[in-house]
């Protein structure tokens, strides 16, 4: 897994105004590891989300930007200073009610979010991410989509086109209803327009999974100490049938259900452990190990493709892991150059212990109701 010294993306300073429970904060980060500790509900996750917001132009948790405004405020601002390839530059994301969100990279406005995404790579591991494993197929597609979109621009373009066309086609199917049959010629045209992007998505997902799987399995072995065999299988309508003929065969069903019943929007990635689905059978610790491995494998591919070590956000990841797995995870983090890392933990002692074990230069902060104080971990 070790690479020939990739560059590292570093966030050296962060200023937030009116972001979630932070009225104002101005923090200097360590280029290696930053620890945040504090009781429940103090703002640890919010701080990581501010970093995510800065790098991706959107929240990791909230699709509605308005929810990010500190209660009662009508604007927010997140500013960060980055170092990349020996260059230092600011990024600012501004949001004001009634106005379009604005992103400034090096004082230049960013026109389209899709041009910005992938510039400041980062990987976020949050406790709720176990939904990736526990929930329906959508969460897993999203995970693959967000990984692949960061790696390949044509994938992102195909994804946007496919989703747009799918939405149009589904709406058209709904517009039929009652006695009015939807325009069949138009249904067919949408299917034909979807064919090319569907193929792009299918081929990328298939090829990517075969590269992803061994990396993922290695990481899982490292963290679990070789305990369980894990497997991911790509499931797609397109494994069985060509796109157009598949859609054509489902047309009657489409008309009845008023949605498109064949296509890559139904793809899934089946997650197995010891030949059983992880979902109902895996323990909490196993699910968490599975999740962390998925995310660290994602990290590996982003780093490899961009030749830059992304920022790594680890929110509460040591919870639910037994001490041996924590040790193995820490050893893994030490062995593999992970660039700049942000770690949260509610237990200050556990965090101090982790800091000692990792032994790397760090800053530590105590989070208390939306304000931060730098501390020494003892």
């Amino acid at each position: 897994m070790l690479l020939n010294k990739p560059l590292t993306l570093k966030l050296t300073q962060l200023k937030v105004t009116n972001f979630r429970n932070y009225p104002y904060a101005d923090i200097h980060f360590c280029p290696r590891i930053n620890y945040f500790t504090g009781a429940n509900g103090m703002g640890k996750t919010n701080l990581l989300d501010a970093i995510y917001f800065l790098c991706q132009g959107k929240s990791y948790f909230q699709s509605n930007d308005k929810q990010l405004l500190l209660h009662g405020q009508d604007f927010l601002r997140v500013e960060g200073w980055f170092e990349k390839d020996e260059k230092r530059f600011p990024v600012v994301v501004k949001l004001q009610t009634g106005k379009k969100k604005q992103i400034l990279r090096n004082n230049q406005p960013v026109q389209r979010l899709s041009d910005f995404v992938g510039e400041l790579p980062l990987v976020f591991i949050a406790p709720d991410d176990t939904l990736l494993i526990r929930e329906g197929s959508e969460a897993r597609r999203k995970f693959m989509d967000s990984t692949l979109s960061q790696l390949y621009r044509p994938y992102l373009d195909a994804l946007l086109a496919y989703n747009n066309l799918l939405k149009q086609r589904n709406q058209l199917l709904k517009m039929g209803g009652d006695n009015r049959a939807p325009d069949h010629a138009l249904l067919q045209i949408y299917a034909e327009q979807m064919e090319q992007p569907a193929k792009v998505l299918y081929q990328h997902r298939k090829a990517f999974l075969s590269a992803f799987l061994p990396v993922f399995q290695d990481i899982y072995q490292a963290i679990s100490g070789g305990h369980e065999r894990v497997q991911i299988t790509y499931q797609s309508d397109l494994n069985q049938e060509e796109f157009l003929s598949g859609v054509h065969k489902q047309l009657r069903k489409d008309l009845i259900l008023q949605r498109t019943c064949f296509g890559v929007h139904r793809d899934d990635f089946l997650l197995d452990m010891e030949d059983q689905p992880v979902k109902p059978y895996g323990s909490q610790g196993q699910v968490k190990s599975f999740l962390i491995s998925l995310k660290l494998a994602q990290y590996h591919f982003i780093r490899q493709h961009k030749n830059i070590a992304p920022v790594l956000l680890l929110d509460d990841i040591f919870d639910k892991l037994d001490p041996r797995r924590v040790d193995q995870l820490l050893a893994f983090i030490l062995e593999n150059q992970f660039g700049q890392i942000f770690v949260t933990d509610t237990h200050e002692e556990r965090m101090a212990q982790i800091a000692r074990q990792l032994g790397e230069v760090h800053h530590a902060f105590r989070v208390n109701e939306g304000s931060l104080t730098q501390i020494q971990l003892v």
Partner: protein, 204 residues
């Protein structure tokens, strides 16, 4: 905004109901009108009323028109065998600015987009097919915006015209203009109409 006059307030409200006119601009306009002779406002109001009441839609191309047939369709010097298909009247104005196009137009009235409640039946597609099948139309240039909705619409219409002896071309799409035709600078637009390419009917 706090007005001491109900009359001023309702005047400002009326003006600010226009697109891209905010309250501040509306107030500036209202105060300007109040400074002029009453006849000035009357002239403007009458011109607007007359425009609104008497404006018609060209029976042939659905352009705005003073008569049953618009000035462009009625112009004998223009090539009636070449139709440039556009989304809206604003596109006609943009293309006419370039002075590069000597044919006639057909205004579609939008793009196919079920999400926005626009189906083929809401556009002037049938009228276009009718125009092509009865007239001596030789070529249709699809000058629609380079978006997925634009693609769908072109694709759909070209299917409808499949069995008619008409050449279909598209303007060089996706180059040099940022989305809508309206924003294309005149030169690029003029050039792209001249440099149109035959439409490749996908799928057939």
């Amino acid at each position: 905004m706090n007005f001491s006059s109900k009359l001023l307030e309702s005047g400002v409200d009326a003006l600010s109901s226009l697109p891209s006119i905010g309250k501040k601009t509306a107030l500036r306009l209202a105060l300007f009108l109040l400074k002029q002779e009453p006849g000035f406002t009357e002239e403007i109001s009458n011109a607007l009323l007359k425009m609104r009441r008497n404006m018609r839609e060209c029976q042939r191309c659905h352009n705005m028109s003073d008569e049953a047939i618009c000035a462009i369709c009625a112009d004998r010097r223009r090539d009636q065998q070449v139709i440039c298909l556009v989304e809206s009247i604003r596109d006609i104005i943009a293309i006419e600015e370039t002075q590069q196009f000597k044919g006639v137009y057909h205004v579609l009235g939008g793009l196919i987009s079920p999400i926005e409640g626009v189906g083929p039946g809401d556009l002037t597609i049938d009228a276009l097919v009718e125009r092509v099948s009865t007239g001596q139309i030789q070529e249709i240039i699809m000058a629609l915006s380079p978006t997925i909705e634009g693609d769908t619409t072109i694709y759909y219409i070209s299917r409808k015209l499949k069995d008619l002896p008409v050449k279909i071309s598209t303007i060089a799409r996706g180059v040099a203009f940022g989305g809508d035709l309206e924003y294309a600078d005149e030169l690029t637009l003029g050039r792209s109409i001249l440099a149109r390419v035959p439409y490749q009917n996908q799928g057939d």
